[in-house]
């Protein structure tokens, strides 16, 4: 018992006295939680629309004012110069050009008019398609209001929409659980590995290896400080989420704690296992970057797993963060119970056990 206690004590002393790490551990979660929710948005807003109006009729003016009033669209120009608009499209100041053809209003009354032309900058494919959708819907609404005929659009009054769990469609609320997970991955996934590889490079690990210290004691002493730090990050994140963004867990806080515990165990165990195979800082840095990158991109944190092709979806079953993303978002936003998440918990628990055993077993005192 004594060797384990002095080793753990040593880790905390080292951490305290480090010039960089304590500041990082405090500042990173706080900074990310305060800033990132405002930035991490992948929805489409503020689509810049330029209207080339060749008709100059009441109808076309109506269209322009509807576009102006839209919450998703931003009217940046109503001009007769198509080339000017095109230049803006190429430079990036305009996202979509709407060209209303000559005699549009006149033709609408008698026959099928010439089509309204919509040209979208589709470099950002989602913005191009969603933006176009919004423009189409906005124009269609404008035209409906103006005609006397009943058109299918009036039927929209017979459909009601109830948005549950996030009635205001608050984007930060959706992203905050994901950001918390990213913080855990950075703090508990990246740093423990650095701690072991640093001892390897400096040489102190040799002094440990030549002593009768049990490798489980050593591994545990390396893990525990980061479990504590991970929990600290959780509290900080939850407090900021509550008081700055108004996000309160809908479900049980204990389930959140349990999930976080399992996840922190898993990710730090993974981190140490990787470190046991690396001898230099440069190597471990790159290896961890590679895995962390895959974790963040493929676990459903930023983009939905459901949108991925089948082969990718199957692959994500191997990624621990995928299960925790499910758990944290569900509990925070929908109030899902632990019973409804039992599969995710079993998966996460298994990963926790596997990686921690691996971390201890792959540590070789004698090579």
């Amino acid at each position: 018992m004594r060797p384990f206690i002095v080793l753990l004590n040593k880790e905390f002393i080292k951490l305290r006295r480090d010039s960089f790490l304590p500041k990082l551990i405090v500042i990173l979660p706080i900074a990310l939680m305060l800033i990132a929710p405002l930035l991490v948005r992948m929805d489409v807003r503020n689509v810049n629309v330029a209207v080339v109006d060749l008709d100059h009729s009441t109808t076309s003016h109506r269209i322009v004012s509807h576009i102006k009033a839209s919450e998703y669209l931003s009217l940046v120009g109503a001009t007769a110069e198509f080339d000017l608009a095109m230049k803006g499209l190429e430079e990036g100041t305009i996202d979509i050009i709407v060209q209303i053809p000559d005699h549009f209003e006149r033709d609408m009354a008698v026959s099928t008019p010439e089509k309204i032309s919509i040209i979208a900058n589709a470099v950002n494919a989602v913005k191009g398609s969603m933006g176009t959708q919004y423009v189409v819907q906005t124009i269609a609404h404008a035209l409906v209001e103006f005609s006397n005929e009943k058109s299918p659009n009036q039927l929209s009054e017979v459909v009601t929409v109830q948005n549950r769990y996030n009635p205001t469609l608050n984007y930060p609320h959706y992203m905050i659980p994901a950001l918390m997970i990213i913080i855990f991955i950075l703090v508990c996934g990246f740093l423990p590995a650095l701690s072991i590889v640093e001892e390897k490079e400096v040489g102190t690990i040799e002094q440990i290896n030549v002593s009768p210290v049990n490798r489980f004691d050593f591994t545990l002493s390396k893990l525990i400080p980061y479990w504590v730090i991970g929990f600290f990050a959780l509290i900080v994140a939850m407090v900021i989420a509550h008081f700055v963004y108004g996000l309160i867990p809908t479900g049980s806080v204990w389930v959140i704690f349990l999930g976080t515990t399992l996840f922190i165990l898993t990710i730090s165990g993974f981190s140490l296992t990787m470190a046991n195979f690396s001898n230099t800082m440069q190597q471990i840095m790159f290896v961890m970057f590679f895995f962390i990158m895959i974790f963040i991109l493929m676990s459903g944190l930023l983009t939905p797993i459901d949108s991925m092709p089948d082969w990718a979806q199957t692959f994500t079953l191997l990624l621990p963060p995928r299960y925790f993303t499910d758990i944290l978002r569900s509990v925070y936003l929908r109030g899902t119970t632990i019973a409804e998440l039992w599969q995710e918990f079993v998966a996460l628990g298994s990963f926790a056990i596997i990686f921690n055993i691996l971390a201890a077993v792959t540590y070789k005192k004698q090579a």
Binding site: R2, P3, I5, V6, L7, N9, K10, I13, K14, R17, D18, V202, G203, T204, E206, Q207, I208, N209, V210, S211, P212, V213, K365, Q366, A367
Partner: protein
């Protein structure tokens, strides 16, 4: 006849195609200061690491403090002390904290640790530096501290790997006095070095060239055998045809 504390037979270590240590055999007796000499790259450190349970031999056998190097590495570690070229102390811990750490690692109780810590600091005349960070210590002090800590659990054998690297001659002299003291107390000292003048301080000396033990005897007898005035000369004669080293 003295008791054998280290016994090595046909010990070999290969890394792929490269044979770092080639079929070495020797014995070390209790209480001696055994010098393990050779140029850089000759294989000294590799051989020592096998004896300390840091590395598995490719073939051959050996016992250290009565335990088998291949299968009982963890038992060996309870009975030996070790100090590396890099004086592996924790730079961001104080002198006192390092002592407590390593004492605890070897299973010494709090009371025993406190007592030995006092003794150690007094002996080194470090008592005022208990709360100084190791990284602030001059090199010579780090070296002495590392040696003292290596012996804190009163091991039978202390292994020293190039302990005097980069240190001035006066400090080296003082350091060897510490080694003498330890040996007089019954501790066996196994020390590797590439400083040939330090060979004179040892009870017996072995010289490694290209992974093999080319000579093994007391310094006096080696000088007679090679008709040399100093161990340096002895070494140069042996190392004339060496493939590896500086």
């Amino acid at each position: 006849m003295s008791e054998t504390v280290i016994s090595v037979r046909n010990l070999t270590k290969r890394f792929g195609n490269f044979t770092a240590v080639n079929n070495i055999s020797f014995d070390v007796y209790r209480g001696e200061i055994f010098g393990f000499l050779g140029a850089n790259g000759a294989g000294k450190t590799t051989a020592m690491r096998m004896l300390c349970g840091l590395s598995y031999p490719t073939s051959g056998s050996g016992t250290v403090a009565g335990f088998n190097v291949m299968r009982e590495g963890e038992m060996i570690k309870r009975h030996i002390g070790y100090m590396s070229q890099r004086f592996s102390l924790y730079n961001t811990l104080t002198v006192g904290e390092n002592i407590k750490l390593f004492a605890g690692i070897y299973g010494l109780s709090k009371q025993v640790t406190a007592k030995r810590s006092e003794e150690l600091l007094a002996r080194l005349k470090f008592s005022s530096e208990r709360d100084t960070l190791v990284k602030a210590l001059p090199l010579g002090w780090k070296q002495k501290l590392a040696f003292a800590i290596a012996g804190i659990h009163r091991p039978e054998i202390i292994f020293l790997d190039e302990p005097t690297g980069g240190v001035d001659p006066v400090t080296r002299r003082q350091f060897w006095e510490m080694i003498y003291e330890a040996a007089e107390g019954g501790t066996t000292i196994f020390v590797t070095t590439h400083y040939m003048d330090e060979a004179e301080y040892c009870s017996r000396v072995s010289i490694m060239v290209d992974g093999e033990v080319r000579a093994l005897d007391t310094p006096t007898r080696l000088k007679q055998q090679f008709n040399a005035g100093s161990m340096d000369e002895v070494f140069r004669m042996l190392a004339r045809d060496a493939q590896r080293g500086e």
